[in-house]
Symmetry: C2
Subunit: 85 residues, 2 copies
Amino acid sequence: MNFQVRVFVTPKPSILDPQGKAVANSLHSLGYDEVVEARLGKLIELRLGGADREAVSARVDEMCRRLLANQIIEDYRFEIEEARS
Amino acid sequence: MNFQVRVFVTPKPSILDPQGKAVANSLHSLGYDEVVEARLGKLIELRLGGADREAVSARVDEMCRRLLANQIIEDYRFEIEEARS
């Protein structure tokens, strides 16, 4: 079966996020003063095969821990969807 | 009222995504051969004030068009949530 997985990798709340700060500053210069904070993360969309949702979840969790997220400074979570094709 | 908005910016399907290709290659080297494709996007989390959901939606859409997404090569969408605080 084919699955579509969306992995969200975000800086941990305690970690400084200079990119997010830069985005917030740019938004303020454009007049969006209502923005209190911006934080920048990554969205990784994966298309992959697998036997079922549980098997895919275990594999993707491993991918996150081994490659996609740096757990010292980042949190991750993901959503699995059966692909249409 | 305070809102938490999550903006997802992804490369358009027709656009080459070398970063995503690099991620897919790395996953393959680690033995995750079931991965067919990886695409890399941005996740921007905003905390901001606003009168209501409609007003926030209009403002964030404008922010995406003016700063957060490059519509020539990227698509964007966002989710709005009322903040707990």
